[in-house]
Amino acid sequence: MTAIMVASELNNNLLVVVAASAIYYGTPLFFAGLGEVLTERSGVLNLGVEGMMLLGAVAASVTSARAPGPAWLVLILALLAAMFAAACGAAVHAFAVITLRVNQTVSGLALTILAGGAGLSSYLANLWELRDPVPHQFTKLDVFGLADLPVLGPVLFNQTLLTYLSWVLVVASSWYLFRTRAGLHLRAVGESPQTADAVGINVVRTRYVHTLAGGSLAGVGGACFSLSIVPTWQDGMTAGRGWIAIALVIFGFWRPDLTLVGAYLFGAFSSLSLTLQARKVEISPSILESMPYVVTILVLVVVSGGWAKRRLGAPAALGLPYEREDR
């Protein structure tokens, strides 16, 4: 009896609450951020993350609401639908910037506006009459029955399947980027497409594949909102998280593991500002919530310096269209 009380007391501790919350709310940021890492590693900047997340969210929402079958199957279908819908958005961007060599900033912004809160995603939601909570959701699990374990329980063993999936992805994508031939090719294309092309790497294909993959992951990020956090469709429900994901990429030095850390840090500061208010601690919430952005700016300053730029910086060809005849 007392042991249980001690455990619940511990698990209500400020740090435990903030850590558990940071992971839950950081998960969609990580998915979208990892997607942007892959895209930017190929030299393509995609500012359409917010729009792609909303496309993913609306596709996941309608699938959960309409698809027949057992819950696990519907949820898999919903994730696939989210990936597909967001990848379609990414395909428009890829065609514009890779094939037509349009300004990447303009195309990405256009994608966010076209697909975003008052655009295509809201039109589709209206068409499909999405307004009630979706029937199939990713709820928090009690893994191995350890959810009530002191401290570690709420943080590690009481998350949704999406979070556990993200942990697998952070390992898999790090391995892919830094330990495989394809990952090496990807980084080469982002650093110097001319050189990559000269050694026979297909620059256009590499960029297309990773822009689409990045889009799919943004879609999963959107699905985290419509299937778990806010499982009722609302126009513009991601409320700017796509922009945070883009900041995360810089924050994480274009690395999956640091992107995960950054995502949890954003989640933690957001939670901290609310949790402290809820516990009557008076620290300006605005200061706490601006902290991750301050760190992002500091990182930008650092990566623009000489050594760091060589070791950690942005892909050298980021944002530049590649044309063979320019060689």
Binding site: N103, S122, I229, T232, M237, T238, R279, K280, E282
Partner: protein, 374 residues
């Protein structure tokens, strides 16, 4: 390089077009206007800041518009423009609506005020009505809003009866008089049935951020609250309440069917009767300028149906209080009222003047939290 510059300017053009085209797209699905003048139907138009499916503010207004269509049938022809930004675009939207022959135009967001006033001066034959607007002396311009605080008092009663720990968490949007007034009314309602209970406020500094609204609700419960109150109309705090098994009072939309286990009630507005009356007065030619502040007595504001958690005893208490408010026997801001520091703000026997209610910047005793000064 030339080609890429050309294509990007094309894209930029498409982007601009899409931004401008948004307000137009809404009207395509508007009222089934088959003919322009079948026996002199009066044209009435609505301008919305959000989409009609937002499940809250704009949906409520659009339901009001539909109520007008239903009540007045072929005597009226309605149009709406949704997703209209609070910027220079609205002036153009109003111009179009006037040119299209609309005789009365309702704009339902505060930020439409300047353009509405300018248009009212330009077109004296058209009636302009501005929800949540600031009263002024333009002859063909009215403002209208409702006393949500009465309904919040009543939903506060439901929360006060529900709480066991005596702590209710309020997810609050912005520290402005409207929200402060609502929180105070809510806290007074809570205390009327549970004198020692407190209302703890967390500001999310946003009108609309569903993930953050839910995160705030969870923080409040972790911090000791066992009832959640929404200050915005996203159902996200309801999801937190459902997961954590605590009661929830919403705002501005009835979610009783979606959250049957945690739902208590919510303050709601019914714009239909007001719209119907005012369109009717344009038809009859006796429209009058006024600054309307609707109440429970007018049927303008109300509370949503109760959830299963609310006991019969509490329901009866709330209904009785509602009748007292209706008949004018009870004023929710009647003294004595003291602020957080214990200083008397309203003396016994007095009442908080309407002007003070509209500019209120202090919390009543029993509210925990600061009002950040900007």
């Amino acid at each position: 390089m030339k080609r890429s510059a050309f294509v990007s300017s094309l894209l930029a053009g498409a982007l601009l077009l899409s931004a401008c085209g948004k307000s137009e797209s809404g009207s395509s699905s508007s009222g089934e206007s088959d003919a322009k003048s079948d026996g002199g139907a009066v044209k009435a138009a609505w301008i919305y800041v959000g989409p009609t499916n937002d499940g809250g503010w704009t949906t409520a207004h659009d339901n009001g518009r539909k109520a007008v269509e239903k009540a007045l049938g072929d005597k009226v022809e309605t149009t709406f423009k949704e997703n209209v930004p609070e910027g220079p675009e609205v002036a153009q939207v109003i111009e179009d609506l006037v040119k299209d022959g609309n005789k009365i135009i309702f704009a339902t967001s505060f930020g439409f005020g300047d353009a509405m006033m300018a248009a009212a001066k330009k077109y004296p034959d058209v009636k302009f009505e501005h929800a949540t607007g600031i009263p002024n002396d333009i002859e063909n311009f009215s403002t209208y809003f409702g006393a949500g605080e009465q309904s919040l008092y009543l939903s506060g009663m439901a929360a006060g009866a529900e709480t066991k720990k005596g702590v209710i968490g309020f997810v609050a949007p912005f520290p402005i008089p409207e929200v402060v007034r609502h929180i105070n009314a809510y806290a007074l309602g809570v205390q009327s049935v549970n004198p020692s209970a407190v209302v703890r406020v967390v500001w999310i500094n946003n009108w609309f951020d569903p993930p953050k609204e839910r995160q705030a609700a969870e923080s409040l419960v972790a911090g000791g609250a066992d009832v959640i109150a929404s200050g915005g109309d996203s159902p996200a705090p309801g999801e937190a309440a459902k997961t954590l098994g605590v009661g929830w009072t919403g705002y501005d939309s009835d979610q009783s069917t979606n959250f049957p286990d945690v739902w208590l009630t919510a303050a709601v507005y019914d714009w239909g009767p007001y719209y119907t009356e005012h369109v009717q007065s344009v038809i009859d030619g006796d429209w009058k300028k006024q600054d309307y502040y609707g109440s429970i007595a007018d049927g303008f504001t109300d509370i949503a149906p109760f959830g299963t958690r609310v006991t019969d005893d509490t329901k009866a208490k709330i209904e009785a209080k509602k009748d007292e408010i209706k008949s004018g026997d009870f004023d929710i801001f009647a003294g004595p009222i003291v602020d957080q520091a214990g200083a008397e703000k309203v003396a016994a026997g007095a009442s908080l003047p309407f002007g003070d209610q509209m500019s209120i910047d202090w919390f009543v005793k029993g509210v925990e939290g600061d009002i950040p000064k900007s």
